[in-house]
Structures are given as structure tokens and as C-alpha cells.
Amino acid sequence: MNRSSFFSGIRAQLPILLGVAPFGMIYGVLARSAGLPPEIAQAMSSIVFAGSSQFIGTTLFRESAPFVVIVLTTFVVNLRHALYSASLAPYVESLSIRWKILMAYLLTDEGYAVGIARYQQLPPNENVGSPHYYYLGSAMALWTTWQLSTAIGVFFGAQVPASWGLDFALPITFIAIMIPALADRPSALAAVVAAVVALAAHDLNYKLGLIIAALSGIVAGLIAERFTPRRVEKVE
């Protein structure tokens, strides 16, 4: 049961990996061209394991930004993970501390999105064992892909031309994750409001615009909920 959940988690993540791998390679390439030594570039992927903050970190390293700036920026850029953490928390409440640490270390945009979709199919108290293995499978597949694609990018350095537009693979991947998850009108409204605010606030530094946009979207969803007749949660 656990084993098969682990593997279906991996399977669910496979298409997403197609979009993540080019992104990891681009990171590797950028880190090398920013002057990071190969072992530092690779270590950042395994220690930090957070795409967007690694990109920004790389840029800051190139500009010789001070330590405090780099760490604070990392904090702000990854603040959205606190929302993921809160969202997963009720489902993993009963797990051991070791599980929680492992899950937190592996918590990324893609790992969260695939995992939460599984958890939400079940009420919080009825998921014993298997959905956690599902999450683990999908997150480990992601982790492995990120390390390997970083290594490939680091290895090939500046030989991948920017004209391939590989960086576009990431927003496309997020579209593939998000659209099927828009289950009802409040969710759709949350997405639309967040998008509009994100576009308007995009010039704010350090992804602050992203945080503000996400919060606006969440508030919009809550307001819309009041005007939408309550639907029975879909259980597949």
C-alpha cells in the first residue's frame, strides 16, 4: 500500500519534471556564468532546494551582495512556503517529527501542488500512511531531478543558448498544475485577483508583489465563498 502510493506519487510528478529539469539546467548554467564554483552551485541545489531563491541568490552572489541581504532576500522570496506549510499542517499533524522534518525539507511549489491535491481528496483525519508516501514519492522524484539537472547545467556551463527559451518551461508547468486545480468559482476568482495584483505590483522588490498578490487572491476567495452556495467537497 505504502509502496504503491510512493510510486503513484512519482508517476504524478513525472510530467511536471519535464518542466522542472530545464529550469534546473538553466540554474546550473547561470550559477557557473555568475562565477560560482561548481561545488557551491551544486550544494545550493541540495541545501537550499528552492528554485527561485537560488536564481536570485546567484544574482546577488555575482553582485557581491552582503550576507544579510542574501539571507533576508531568501527569506522574503521563500515566504510563500509558510503558506504551503500551513496548508499541509492539518494533514500531517499526527506524523513523527522525523517525517515532518523530511517533508519540510522537500516542500517546494511543485511538491506541494501535487501533494496537496492528493490530501484534499480525503478528510484530514482519514489519511493514514499512504498519502504521505505519495507526497514523499512525488517530492523525492522532484529532488532527484533538481540535483541531476543542476549537475548537467553546471557541467555544460554557458553552452546552452538563451534563445532556446528554456526558462519558459516553468510558467508552463505551473499552468499545467494550476488550471486543473481550479475546482470552483471562489478558487477561480482567487486566481484572477491574484494575477491582476501580481501584474500591477510586479515592480516591487524581492517578490513582495507576489506575497501581496497571493494574499489579495486569498481574501477574494474568502469573500466569494460567502456569495457561493456551499458545495459538497468532491471526493474521488
Binding site: 541545501i47 506549510s85 499542517a89 501542488a113 494575477a195 474568502l222
Partner: protein, 104 residues
């Protein structure tokens, strides 16, 4: 450099661990519980749309010369109709490449 990277890692890890650990130690207000449902659509679309319409923080570009939003729209339609992630990513990238080639 190593110390900086380790600190980045610790900060990121603590953010990710925060609520997972703290949950159950205190009562979460029901409003917070309900609002968590909207985290995935809100965060994801706030990441996606600027990538499509404002690459490199340029002003909003709705022109046909911007391959990103057109490819994004096509991908969104495919994701909506098929719910197939693989198909969405493949066709989205192919449309993006074709338009980029034509526009250039």
C-alpha cells in the same frame, strides 16, 4: 560562501517547517483554515501571469509579438480541456517556439 549557502538553506527550511511543527500546539482560527484552500490558485497564478505578460519586468505586453502569453493561453486551454500535464507542457513549449521563430 559556504556559510551564506548554509544560512539560506536554514532560513528556507525553517519557513517550510514553521506551521507543520506549530500546528495543533494552538487553535487555528476557522478563517485561517478556510483561507488555506485558496493558497494554491492564488500563489500559482501570481507567479504565472507576470511571467507571461511582463517578462524581464517590462510593461504589460499583450501584443502578438509576445509569444509567452499566447503560448500560455493555449496551454491553459489544453490544461482545462484535457487536465493532462504532459500534453499541456509539450504543446505550450511547441507553440512558444513556433511563435518565437515566426516573430523573429
Amino acid at each position: 560562501m559556504w556559510f551564506t549557502i548554509l544560512s539560506m538553506g536554514v532560513v528556507t527550511f525553517l519557513i517550510r517547517l514553521s506551521f507543520i511543527i506549530a500546528w495543533g500546539k494552538f487553535e487555528m482560527p476557522p478563517l485561517v483554515r478556510r483561507s488555506l484552500r485558496y493558497v494554491p490558485p492564488a500563489v500559482l497564478s501570481a507567479i504565472i501571469l507576470p511571467e507571461l505578460l511582463r517578462p524581464n519586468s517590462l510593461p504589460i505586453d499583450f501584443s502578438l509579438g509576445n509569444a509567452r502569453w499566447i503560448a500560455g493561453l493555449v496551454a491553459a486551454l489544453i490544461a482545462w480541456r484535457t487536465r493532462n500535464a504532459l500534453l499541456t507542457i509539450l504543446i505550450g513549449m511547441i507553440v512558444f517556439w513556433i511563435i518565437s521563430l515566426v516573430v523573429k
